[in-house]
Symmetry: C2
Subunit: 334 residues, 2 copies
């Protein structure tokens, strides 16, 4: 299993050596400011302490930790980006405080125990790219008993949604006729099938959410065992807000830091580069106020490509038929 | 070599089974109308004739050919899209005129010789995805001596360009400081390196072009031997329009149909989904009026993945050093 995870690594780490992903992450001020404020506000727990920044990228979180008074920060970066991280450390004259280490975190031997682990490990649908097991592996091996995890809690949410734009997108095929004089209505069921066949990553307006969100999983990052990440499974029961069409289910996540700082990727707040993940049904279902949607959401790392996800959703509208849909969350997300 | 080409096919054909590529191509009215007008205007050469539509997709070009009076159209589509092509034929009540065949064109046995081959085979930089050899293979085997190729000519162009937005993009790293209080100037050379390390596909404004375009290759599609596609190589000599910075070279193409109908993807006309392809230098070069840029552009299908391209550009500004840059045009184009 370890072998399989790392068979994807070359490609995975290479993708982080390109500058555009770092531009995207730094442009996401919701993300980067949440970490910045969390680190600075928790300076009492960081000042004079030993910190590891796992998946350091440009190294910006390491610099924040120095700003908060860390005695030593180990900036761990497996990709070739590490050379660049070192340059950033030098540019900011923090060579005495930040040690850049180009290695997989599992292979790093620290000269001392860690007081703090900071990491921005979250992927789409929280678990895509599966960086969390590596972070927890380091926690179990190197974090002091009273050490601090930043973030310290993660929550994954699920809700049914209505896509107001769905019919418009299908009407594309009706609008072909006046332009090219060819009927293309027969493409509509095919287009529907394609939409439902992969996971979409898009920001949606808050009014699309059609019931109170359900917490699929709450992770206490200080204590959750790695084995808990092998399968995330949760039963849900939604009561719909009102008359609507349900096009599928949407997930988002939050991570919390001590001192009431939270980074949320929900549709109710400012957009982040994680957006939200949509899982479309094969066809929309009509609902009214208090229609119940019950079912089970389960998520596991793919056996062959553990950075990708297998997601199964079983669902039932009121006493209608119980249905089941499988989604493979690979690099074809759109 | 044949084996290698087809080792990529499963993935290649699957990508065309998704509806979104067809939405993109049909939304490109420049493309689709050029084919429509070309087919309709050439109706005298199509009426009562036998046509093959290679890579039929939705089947829209086949329907155009029936509109132009074709006696029989063979719509060849290797991907699972073919089922959908058949439905489109039925929806337009053309079952007696269009035969949908799900197969690779190389494996198709036609019951008769062809009068016309119509195909939309062009990829980014004309040759990306390498569908043209398959079209020419069919031509050599099945097209009548006096048969018609639609399109009948293709031209690939090259020009030096100035990217007005280049400095702005790099300034991103200067703008980090006031936002997060971290210096990131050291990221600039890295960002430059990343920009220059892969091929970009973007529409550029016409004023970006800094010299008269050079025709790298003109293909007479009725007569060009398949072997000519194994290596496209051309010497160029540009005389710059005026004071500017050259950030790299840009390619675009046109295809021509009989009766003066042309589909162009140049920056001088309406945008198409092919946009233009940019090949950035490691660092911009300053030029003035009549600065000459000489060199050689060469392009070959990649040995291991023939749908991808190896592109080599040698170039020299006036009597400066002769430089060389290699680009791998794979699915990481952005």
């Amino acid at each position: 299993d370890e072998d399989k995870r790392w068979s994807q690594d070359e490609e995975y780490f290479r993708s982080y050596a390109d500058v555009s992903v770092h531009e995207e992450m730094l442009s996401d001020t919701v993300r980067t400011n949440a970490y910045r404020y969390a680190v600075l506000k928790n300076y009492e727990k960081i000042r004079g302490k030993i910190v590891a920044d796992i998946g350091a990228g440009t190294g910006i979180l390491s610099v924040f930790c120095v700003h908060a008074g860390a005695k030593k920060v180990y900036a761990i970066e497996a990709s070739d980006m590490a050379e660049q991280t070192q340059r950033l450390v030098e540019e900011n004259r923090m060579e005495d405080r930040i040690d850049v280490i180009q290695n997989k975190i599992e292979d790093v031997e620290f000269p001392e125990e860690l007081d703090v682990i900071v990491s921005e490990w979250m992927g789409y649908c929280l678990f895509y790219e599966s960086m969390l097991p590596s972070v927890l592996h380091c926690r179990d091996k190197w974090l002091k008993k009273d050490g601090l995890m930043l973030p310290s809690v993660a929550n994954l949410y699920l809700a049914p949604f209505c896509d107001e734009d769905y019919d418009n997108r299908l009407d594309f095929w009706t609008e072909i006729k006046p332009v090219y004089k060819v009927s293309m209505e027969s493409m509509k069921p095919y287009a529907q099938k394609c939409i439902a066949s992969h996971v979409h990553v898009n920001c949606m307006p808050p009014e699309s959410v059609q019931a109170h969100a359900h917490v699929i999983k709450r992770l206490d990052l200080k204590h959750v065992p790695i084995s808990d990440l092998q399968k995330v499974k949760s039963e849900f029961r939604f009561r719909c807000f009102g008359h609507s069409e349900i096009h599928g289910f949407v997930t988002w996540f939050t991570v919390d830091f001590p001192d009431s700082i939270s980074l949320t990727t929900s549709p109710y707040t400012e957009d982040t580069h994680w957006a939200q993940c949509q899982f479309y049904l094969d066809a929309p279902e009509k609902v009214k106020q208090d229609t119940t949607i019950t079912g089970t959401f389960s998520l596991t790392p793919n056996k062959d490509k553990p950075r990708f996800l297998d997601i199964n959703i079983e669902y039932q509208f009121d006493s209608g038929p119980r249905r089941h849909k499988y989604y493979y969350m690979n690099d074809c997300i759109t």
